[in-house]
Assembly symmetry: C2
């Protein structure tokens, strides 16, 4: 559907120029210099030809075939030109010109008009304020940026034109190939979502990369990303991860879960690999485009020197990867084939004197070993043989196996030819071996995500939707949760000390008393919670103490009463929270509960709704989860009861987008089989 | 003292060869090709000349001047050659040949003989099994490795020859200059310590970098590193940071503090900046060699595009750096000097159309702003002006100020000339802005370390050394700590239930009872601790319960008795531990105490002895420290009592190297002014 932006039948450049310092010249130059094979029509009323091409006074006069126009005229004239394109029957337009939404109110109004004009003619529009599109295989280059990367397998879409310009220049210097590159600008029409979806259908694009600053529709973005990630690796570098100052929030969950966390959780769930730097983005992209995925975390290291292998192993271990143990058979096979002073244990060291044949034999043996999930091959510079010979054998052996192979033919000055061979043979190379670890980890993450897509989901039972609706209406979060099957200890509300004592003896001692007031969100900070009250006297005095405290701190506090609750046995205290993220909807936070939540920050986050498996995975990432499994003298807790509560809270989040924040803190988790009880609940609608 | 390795009067190559495939040829080639100006004497009995140089049949016949010999003969002949060198009066020898300690027992014996032979003649020796030395300013290249980096300011010493070869090749490709490069090999004589110390005295070396796999004398290494770091930045990449499997340990401290932690703590204390990758090592080195240190963490970002600035800000914030707020005067000055649509807030965006003059004005304004500690300048590729013009103005403005400036003239293909200019003007450049943050952080860390060197130290009072000696002799850790002024709650030991009850009433109820047995290290795991015993009956029953438990679990357990201790009020529970590291001596561990120590891993580590300031800094890095300052409803604890205990335990570690592990867990910390008490102590001598 967006194919004409990359494979047009003919291209008009509205605002083409003969002045080499103008963008309108650069676009014509790039279209011709990079050998676009279709007709190119410069449109300029005051020139007869540009770069040897016939000029047209208006787009109306451009002959067939033409289906794509690049507009590089000043902002005030853009809308008119789009209108003329529409009348001429051109359905695809790239507006390079700036001066729209990015410049203020006037620009925003102009941008709305631009959108309306495009819609009127059913024109698909990229931009405004963008750099344009590149397809190295067509070939097509509608940008004004000097140079074009070599053809390759990486598709790159960017919300920042500057990043596109930088990537083009860097890719040319580093010899990294791309399939498509597109700068989306202000995204008045074509968005990053649609562009990602379109790259799935481009046969030359083996991996999709994106620089994203924000997404316009979080849930739709997730759906499209997930769909894309099922078919091709999708790697995103997210700009703007800082939180930029604290906001006023009502619950721990609110203060823990910033928008950057929501992005991380959403990306994780959608199968997006999140890179942290541009270098990482393209390190991962090359490996994912070229090599199969590892099926586990056991890595074989093949080297001709100790130092670089040590650095590689350090980096692997820091990324949670392991050295493959290797079988006895592998060691026995290697023994006579490498120098006696070498090592047949992982890392396998063939020493400086060994040639490419020894590397070939050793690599083949390692890739045949069932304990090896992936291999990395290191060559420190040596004078015994040409590095290009090693590049040849690495590529050849790797192609014979179905496991990923990464190379570190180290150095820069003497290895250019070797790198070209490796690139041709689709083995990514790294100047120093440390960066390989994050790449292998990303590949493994993708493998695990694809595997997780096969998990079955079961639906929840015991949910009373009508009751929940009514509870929402009354802003009664306890009733809401009970309607969703989340359990609470027995409790009663009392407005007088006498009533409190009566309720307490009804519930049975010992009891807990809590102030119920919309004006105190963190009750335990202000003495609003009394524990382990054992007698009627305790309750009578406690009631008065709580009331006095509340009035002392805030004389106009609205007080609904004091909650009398059964004092529960000791157990694990977990926080289970829900926060509505503006972009991605309900975000679930799980971790260590209590008053120290923000201090300890032992939490993991996911996007609702969660399956039991997803809740288990989330909880497993936290120390709270490890503790819940039993740790030393700490007895285990009822894990299933926790994940059940997490799943049910996440379902509330999915069903009621009007809930802004909802939090159980703590969720008291008793011994296995004895369940988990929400002790305190806070919420904001 | 080691200067002759870099500035010899004349060089003999023993084992020089005419075969271009032999190392003995490569060394002669590098000496001549890279224009060493002194005489070069190839030594080879069967050749008359090599590469046009007169050959000598033996080193004995080499004429004056000669003070350095490179030995590249097979291992069995090396010792004889060193002996001949000694007789000839050559006092500096590099043994390139391998076949020594790295190859097994025979090689180890040969290495010992080599050392004895060198010592006999007072020869200083680098190697064996090394690559040699480079001084780009002399110039001198005694290696056989192809190529040599351009002259520069970075000194690099490496325990891995392969890393040297890789760095040379990479530095040539990347255009990074070095002053000296040296491969130390098996370090039979000259060690990394001496080499680091010698680089301090080389005027061309502005920053010292090292690849280190292990150090042979930790405390001496620390002393030399600290001495060097006071004068020049010292950056180390440590290979082998993984722990490689758990070991049997007696205390939490033992299991928490691995050797990698000891390295980290020792490096931190000695002012070493620890890089995690080779790229980081040289990113930092360039910046530290060329730019002044920032005096704070407030960074100004100057850019011509949003995307890269966003990535820079993300990386800065992730590294704990901040955007400088900028003064009103700065904004007012910038306003008329940058395009109206640009931004005068940090990041300052001059937009794509601005030229080098605008950059110059803006950078000068930012560096003049008192709220700015450092500036980074970003240029996304553009077609308006030459990137080399920007390089010129960045260098010129930066030189006029005393604040660090880093550049990201982005891309690769079109910016080579700009990079050369920046390098000449001593402004480090980064292809993408994300890597700048770790560099600025490293610079700031160095600033803080240099500042911390000015702190005054006060000596400890109230230590009874005689009593401590006696306690050590009796392995009585409680007495030892009391002799060092660490406080304990009142306690008594009882061997019978009746005695326990008597002691309890003497101490006063409620009490705590603990099993005292060398066979149970983690008492609370096995029911060996009873809390809050309020009556004589509780104590009588408790005693029997503990004894029964101990005998049930291990019938032959050695039981010294049961400790009766005053039950203390609630407070913070801190772990303070000491572990003797094989390399760096006593390592101090501080953090959250209790039974969950290994699970939560909230600890910081330092090398003993610690000052109060160092103890405060250590504690401040942990959540336990933040909690100790008071957090929400958690009251603050007696901070000074904790740091006092930490300092005193660290002094024990410094005074008694025979203590392998010693741990207080928990140290109970009461309200400010009320002190801290060691509740449980474990130790191994």
């Amino acid at each position: 559907m967006l194919e004409a932006f990359f494979k047009p039948k003919g291209v008009a450049i509205i605002g083409a120029s003969r002045d080499p310092h103008k963008l309108g010249y650069g676009v014509v130059r790039n279209l011709t210099e990079f050998r676009y094979k279709g007709p190119v029509y410069p449109v300029n009323a005051s020139a007869s030809e540009i770069l040897g091409l016939t000029c047209y006074p208006s787009v109306s006069q451009v002959p067939d075939p033409v289906d794509l126009a690049i507009i590089v005229v000043p902002a005030p004239n853009v809308v008119e030109m789009v209108d003329l394109c529409g009348k001429r029957g051109i359905k695809y337009v790239i507006v390079t010109s700036g001066g729209f939404g990015e410049t203020g109110e006037e620009g925003k109004a102009r941008e709305r008009l631009l959108k309306l004009t495009a819609d009127k003619h059913s024109i698909r529009l990229i931009g405004p304020n963008c750099i344009g599109s590149i397809d190295t295989h067509t070939p097509l280059n509608t940008t004004f940026v000097m140079g074009m990367p070599i053809p390759g397998d990486i598709g790159f879409t960017s919300q920042s034109g500057a990043m596109v310009a930088a990537v083009i220049d860097w890719a040319r210097g580093a010899g990294i190939g791309f399939s498509r590159i597109v700068s989306l600008g202000n995204q008045v029409d074509v968005t990053e979502r649609e562009m990602i979806a379109s790259m799935v259908n481009d046969p030359h694009t083996k991996v999709i990369t994106a620089y994203v600053e924000g997404v316009s529709n979080g849930r739709e973005f997730m759906a499209i990303a997930e769909e894309a990630a099922r078919k091709k690796p999708l790697i995103v570098l997210k700009g703007g991860t800082g939180e930029g100052g604290a906001k006023a929030v009502a619950s721990h969950t609110g203060s823990l879960a910033g928008s950057a966390d929501a992005y991380r959780a959403a990306f994780h769930r959608s199968g997006i690999l999140t890179a942290t730097t541009m270098e990482e983005l393209f390190d991962w992209a090359r490996a994912l485009a070229w090599q199969p995925l590892p099926k586990g975390n056991r890595i074989a290291v093949l080297t001709n020197a100790g130092g670089p292998a040590i650095l590689a192993v350090d980096a692997l271990e820091a990324s949670g990867l392991k050295l493959a143990p290797l079988t006895e058979a592998t060691r026995a096979h290697l023994k006579p084939r490498i120098p006696a002073a070498g090592s047949v244990n992982n890392p396998v060291d063939v020493l400086a004197g060994s040639g490419p044949a020894t590397y070939a034999l050793a690599l083949d043996t390692l890739l045949s070993d069932p304990t090896v999930d992936a291999a990395i091959v290191i060559q420190a510079p040596q004078d015994w043989f040409l590095p290009e010979s090693l590049a040849e054998v690495i590529g050849e052996v790797a192609a014979n196996h179905k496991k990923p192979v990464l190379a570190a033919i180290m150095g820069m000055a003497s290895v250019q030819k070797a790198l070209e061979i490796l690139h041709r043979k689709k083995v990514p190379n790294f100047a120093f071996p440390e960066r390989m670890a994050s790449t292998l980890k990303a590949m493994l993450n993708r493998y695990h995500w694809l595997e997780s897509q096969r998990e079955s989901h079961i639906s929840l039972s015991g949910i009373d939707h009508l009751e929940a609706q009514s509870a929402i209406y009354h802003q009664d979060f306890v009733r809401l949760m009970e309607a969703y099957g989340i359990r609470f200890p027995a409790f009663e509300l009392a407005q007088t000390a006498k009533m409190a004592a009566a309720k307490a003896s009804q519930i049975g001692y010992p009891v807990v008393m809590k102030l119920i007031s919309p004006d105190f969100t963190h009750k335990s900070d202000v003495g609003g919670v009394l524990l382990n009250l054992k007698t009627q006297d305790d309750v009578l005095q406690g009631f008065d103490a709580i009331m006095n405290m509340a009035k002392m701190i805030r004389s106009d506090a609205r007080i609904e009463g004091v909650l009398i609750q059964k004092m529960m046995p000791k157990g694990h205290e977990i926080l289970v929270g829900l926060k509505q993220d503006a972009q991605f909807g309900p975000l679930i936070v799980v971790g260590t509960g209590g008053v120290e939540v923000e201090l300890v920050r032992d939490v993991a986050m996911g996007i609702a709704p969660l399956s039991h498996q997803q809740a288990t995975e989330l909880l497993g990432r936290t120390i709270a989860g490890k503790r819940l499994n039993g740790w030393r003298s700490i007895p285990p807790g009822d894990w299933n009861a926790v994940t059940d509560a997490v799943v049910r809270l996440s379902q509330i989040g999915a069903d009621f987008p009007e809930i802004k924040e909802l939090e159980i803190n703590p969720l008291l988790v008793l011994d296995p089989g004895n369940g988990a009880f929400a002790l305190d609940v806070r919420g904001v609608i």
